[in-house]
């Protein structure tokens, strides 16, 4: 029902969608976040707090399952060095209803961005590195759910 993976391995969106679909319901929503090429970004280093990450992601998934009629929730988040174009995060939700699937997928991403203990450090083409800062728009998106 809940599947959480945190590690360096890549994921296959098709496989993960099939697994969620196999747990019932006819509506499957998914979101994939990748390292976005913004012109001179080379890669990201994803750091996390292992003892807390699984717990934080599980709590988000459990909130989604209690607040929407879902059959399954999958959250996969990669860590380590990820180059431009590589997958970072995948969320898949399965429900009988498309509204529940899409809304809960959106909720999980918004919460993940502001609660799950991951940090990104970017490396630019010129070799410069910088820790990415929290964005006000992410905080606002998370708070609008009121949970």
């Amino acid at each position: 029902m809940i599947r959480i993976e945190v590690g360096t391995d890549d994921f296959d969106i098709g496989d993960e969608s099939l697994k969620v679909a196999g747990q019932g319901g006819g509506a499957i929503a998914s979101f994939v976040g990748q390292v976005r090429d913004d012109g001179n970004l080379l890669s990201l280093e994803l750091e996390h707090y292992p003892a807390m990450t699984q717990k934080a992601l599980r709590e988000i998934a459990e909130t989604a399952l209690s607040d929407w009629p879902l059959h399954a929730v999958t959250i996969i988040h990669r860590v380590g060095k990820l180059s431009v174009g590589e997958n970072i995060v995948l969320v898949v939700t399965g429900s009988d209803h498309r509204k529940a699937a899409i809304e809960s997928c959106s909720f999980i991403m918004d919460k993940l961005k502001t609660v799950a203990p991951f940090w990104k450090k970017e490396t630019r083409a010129d070799g410069e590195t910088k820790w990415i800062e929290e964005r006000a728009s992410d905080v606002a998106a998370s708070e609008k759910w009121g949970k």
Binding site: Y49, P117, E134
Partner: protein, 87 residues
């Protein structure tokens, strides 16, 4: 009673302090996360500077978010890190 707690750091907090984690003894009167920050601020100029800007930091006691006013209780681990930026 000899209490102690492990402090662990992440991202730029870790880098600027130059340590992943440190063990601290909690003397009498150290009851909140804020008390620990005050105590740690004596360790180095970097500690003092970082912990002075508490609004730029987030805290977790035994892997649950806390605030500077949160009581330490019997927690074994205090994590100090910047706002998260995953996803």
């Amino acid at each position: 009673m000899d209490r102690s707690i492990t402090i662990i750091y992440f991202a730029w907090v870790r880098e600027r302090l130059g340590v992943d984690q440190e063990q601290v003894k909690l003397s009498e009167g150290i009851e909140t996360i804020g008390d620990i920050l005050t105590m740690l601020s004596d360790r180095s100029a970097a500690h003092a500077e970082i912990f002075a800007a508490v609004e730029k930091l987030r805290f977790a006691l035994d892997q649950d978010y806390g605030l500077p006013t949160s009581l330490i209780g019997s927690a074994k681990e205090l994590a100090i890190f910047p706002p998260v930026t995953g996803g």
